[in-house]
């Protein structure tokens, strides 16, 4: 099972643990499994079919460019970190 480091604000969802072991052949499966074990996690990590904007998934020390399709194995280490830049989005649709 991959070792997932939990972003500090989300550790409240995993009883304060810094990291957990979760199965998943892909990043998407891993997030779905995180959600099933620790409800509430998914919304902070994934929206529709991609990672939330401004978030980078770092897999074995490298920010993945394959997004949710990133393949994982049992020895994989996953971190969810702020993207190099990014930030919040306007909730409203395009401004007029």
């Amino acid at each position: 099972m991959a070792r997932v480091f939990i972003p500090t604000p989300l550790r409240k969802l995993v009883d304060g643990m810094t990291d957990v072991r979760v199965p998943g052949a892909t990043l998407k499966e891993l997030i779905e499994n995180l959600e099933s074990r620790y409800p509430g996690m998914r919304q902070y990590l994934m929206e529709e079919d991609h990672l939330v904007p401004g978030l980078a998934a770092v897999v074995d020390g490298e920010a993945t460019m394959e997004g949710l399709r990133q393949r994982l194995d049992d020895e994989t280490e996953v971190h969810f970190l702020p993207a190099i830049s990014g930030g919040a989005n306007a909730e409203a649709s395009p401004k007029e």
Binding site: G61, H79, S85, A88
Partner: protein
């Protein structure tokens, strides 16, 4: 000087210093920069920019401008397509398309001084500029917020009413806080409690600009079939294409971006500014339109690096072991979310093993131009504070500052404070090289002429160095030379560094591989030239293409000898039969037979490269300070950096020296001098004081080579680390000279004098 981690491999090309392939065009003025582009029927455009940093647009009347003779098209925000509210990866930065569009042309509100509100195309630029003056804009001026304290204060003016901030995972509204994140490991409170010394300090950094010589420019032709061609000065033609397509709400495949020669970028030319405006003006007037920024617009309305407020707290025990550290990083994003605070957090504690850490990062929207990448974006801000406090802690413990760093230095297998584990890194090797350097081991004459005081400082920096995507095409010519087609824009000598890797793999002299940088329709996808990734990733792609060339050429040689390809081997540019060593042909000899053995021989190389495994740099600086005027002079400077493998050592040294020179400017002179209305009062190169050759001594370099395990030649990338250490190293040297610590940039004469007066007063 070069120090290698292990005995140097026998390379024929790598490690040599050939003349750069693009040198002749550049020194003879033949290279084509964006402003040199001339097209049949081309007309000229300009933008009308807001004089206010924060204001509602009540009305825009373009009728007088439109009616002016010679004017061909006028556009406003109403002409901008509605962009998707989506984020695109630009390489070393991300862009939200909705905000990217709004940044290029305001619709209902201006949020930084210089924000475009309209654009004009006319037969000539003078007519365009005169017409722009006839556009009547009525503003409802609002109070601006121009630093993080003002932006986060209760009842602060709100830059974007629709911004939904993220405060540790909770949505917040009516705020200028775009994001607050935290990395936490261990128990910092326990770590501080166990420490015998705890020091906490706050630092402020001014906004500074990359200061590239060539202003932003774009020439666009919207063809009658709906396809658009754009000639521009960009660090990433594919990223510029993607962002332009997003803003114009059209398919990427309908846009061709032709990257011109680039007169500097340093991260500031990753984003787009003029491309969609030129395209829309071209669409409206049916002619190619060229826009070129003036220097004031470059300062006012492109992407400087964030101003920041940084607080660092460190605890250590008597043995000099760091036990705990906290960092509070508050970065100005500029007018739209997305500062480099994430990278600042990644780098702040990277050189040090600290078991208990907490980092809080804040991305704060203010009424300044949207910040952009600038050489190791975000790292200089956090490292200035960290390296200054490290200096204070080591002094308090009476330890040599480099000994203290070595005592706590990270190595392979350690974790950064944001979590990921280091691969093989050269942190210790770099610091050891600095400690043993002629500079550090020399005696410093403490008293300079006329009462001036001398001091020595040291600091370390880390940048992660990217990998990402690159593609090249390669074709073998009948004379045995090779054409190498690249999509990576060449800013710092990557034509040479990529083609040299191809030449090494092919066993050819460097000059026999001729590199050409082409447009987005002439080569496969390439990410931005940024993140210190290009020599690593594009060089790796060229290496892969060379392997394909070798395999195909092996087949041709086998055909000539009536052998199977597996019976032929290749080494150092020579094909030979395994069973008969006398049967040999050089690469050139096989190339001369291409037409007889199957015709043209081409190859491609593409890669989604792993990263550079991170690069550390340590700088040593001697300053001389005049206590009467406060002026600081740099009298000696040494930069030490892990390059992994220096492909072209002269360019590696150039990157180390260039980053150091920019860092010296950041430390001593440069700042956006903002008035309380959010207007930059020094938006010219006369008033925005960058160092010249008269301000900077010869910068000595020591290249350390600890190979990157992810790259065939060990390349790590070298473009960015060198800007991180100068600011804290100079601050530490000023302290060493005068006994005062400066915790605000720039450390200009008035601040030095203020610090000396404070010291005298407190005495």
């Amino acid at each position: 000087m070069t120090i290698t981690d292990k005995p140097a491999q026998e390379y024929q090309v790598i490690g040599t210093r050939p003349i750069r392939p693009d040198g002749l065009e550049k020194v003879t003025g033949q290279a084509i920069y964006g402003a040199d582009v001339r097209l049949p029927g081309m007309v000229h455009g300009t933008t009308l920019r807001s004089p206010h940093a924060h204001a509602r647009i009540i009305s825009i009347d373009t009728s007088k401008a439109t009616a002016m003779p010679g004017v061909l098209a006028v556009i406003t925000g109403a002409d901008m397509p509605v962009a998707e509210n989506a984020t695109v990866d630009m390489g070393e930065e991300e862009a939200n398309l909705n905000y990217a569009s709004d940044k290029l042309m305001a619709r209902s509100k201006v949020v930084y001084k210089g924000h475009p509100v309209a654009a004009v195309a006319a037969w000539d630029s003078n007519t365009a500029q005169e017409a722009a003056k006839l556009i009547e804009v009525e503003y409802g001026v609002l109070k601006p917020v121009i630093n993080v304290d003002a932006a986060l204060a209760p009842n602060a003016p709100i830059v974007h009413e629709d911004l939904v901030g993220d405060d540790l995972g909770e949505k917040v509204r009516s705020t200028n806080l775009a994001k607050h994140f935290r990395h936490e490991f261990g128990d910092v409170e326990a770590g501080f409690k166990a420490s015998s010394i705890v020091i906490e300090r706050e630092f402020n950094l001014a906004t500074v600009h990359q200061g590239y010589i060539e202003p932003q420019n774009a020439t666009a032709l919207w063809q009658s079939d709906g396809r658009v061609t754009i000639w521009t000065s960009t660090q990433g033609s594919f990223g510029a294409r993607r962002a332009t397509a997003g803003v114009l709400n059209m398919s990427e495949s309908k846009i061709k971006v032709v990257p011109c020669e680039i007169g500097g970028g340093f991260g500031g030319k990753i984003g787009i500014y003029l491309e969609p405006i030129a395209a829309l003006l071209s669409k409206k007037c049916g002619r190619p339109v060229q826009l070129i920024m003036d220097r004031q617009s470059v300062f006012d309305a492109t992407g400087p690096t964030p101003g920041a407020k940084v607080r660092i707290k460190l605890g250590a025990d008597d043995s000099g072991k760091l036990l705990a550290g906290t960092a509070d990083l508050r970065y100005e994003a500029g007018a739209y979310p997305g500062s480099a605070v994430g990278a600042g957090a990644m780098c702040v504690f990277a050189p040090y093993r600290i078991e208990n850490t907490r980092i809080d990062g804040y991305d704060v929207v203010v009424n300044k131009p949207k910040s952009s990448a600038y050489r190791a974006p975000g790292a200089t801000q956090s490292s200035y504070a960290m390296e200054s406090v490290v200096d204070e802690v080591s002094e308090a413990l009476r330890m040599d500052p480099l000994e203290f760093r070595l005592r706590n230095a990270t190595r392979e297998g350690d974790r950064r404070a944001d979590g990921p584990e280091f691969q093989r890194i050269g942190n210790i090797e770099v610091q050891q090289a600095a400690k043993e350097s002629p500079h550090w081991t020399s005696e410093l004459e403490r008293d300079g002429p006329d009462g001036r005081k001398r001091g020595r400082g040291v600091a370390t920096g880390f940048w992660f160095n990217g990998g990402m995507r690159s593609s090249v095409n390669m074709s073998v010519n009948n004379d045995g030379t090779v054409s190498l087609i690249e999509g990576s824009v060449d800013i710092g000598g990557t034509r040479a560094s990529i083609s040299m890797q191809a030449a090494e793999a092919l066993g050819l002299p460097a000059q026999d591989v001729r590199p050409t940088v082409v447009d987005t329709e002439s080569v496969g996808y390439n990410d931005v030239t940024g993140g210190s990734r290009t020599t690593n990733a594009s060089g790796h792609a060229a290496y892969n293409a060379a392997q394909e060339v070798i395999a195909k050429m092996t087949g041709r040689a086998a055909l000539l000898w009536d052998l199977k390809p597996e019976d032929v081997e290749f080494a150092e540019g020579v094909f030979s039969a395994k069973a008969d060593p006398e049967l040999k042909m050089t690469f050139k000899e096989v190339a001369a037979k291409l037409n007889e053995t199957g015709g043209p021989l081409n190859a491609t190389g593409s890669i989604q490269a792993r990263g550079g495994a991170g690069s550390f740099g340590t700088h040593i600086v001697d300053v001389e300070v005049d206590p009467d005027t406060g002026k600081v002079d740099i009298v000696r400077y040494t930069a030490v950096q892990d390059a992994g493998k220096a492909i072209h050592p002269a360019y590696v040294e150039g990157q180390m020296q260039g980053g150091a020179a920019q860092g010296i400017g950041w430390a001593l002179n440069e700042e956006y001098f903002m008035n309380d209305q959010g207007i930059m009062d020094n938006s010219t190169f006369l008033d925005y004081r960058m160092p010249t050759s008269l301000d900077v001594p010869m910068i000595e370099t020591i290249i350390v080579e600890v190979p990157n395990p992810n790259h065939p030649f060990g390349v790590r990338g070298v473009g960015e680390t060198s800007i991180i250490p100068p600011v804290p190293a100079i601050s530490n040297a000023i302290y060493d000279a005068l006994g005062v610590r400066l915790r605000q940039t720039p450390m200009k004469p008035s601040r030095v004098l203020d610090a000396l007066r404070d010291k005298q007063d407190s005495a």
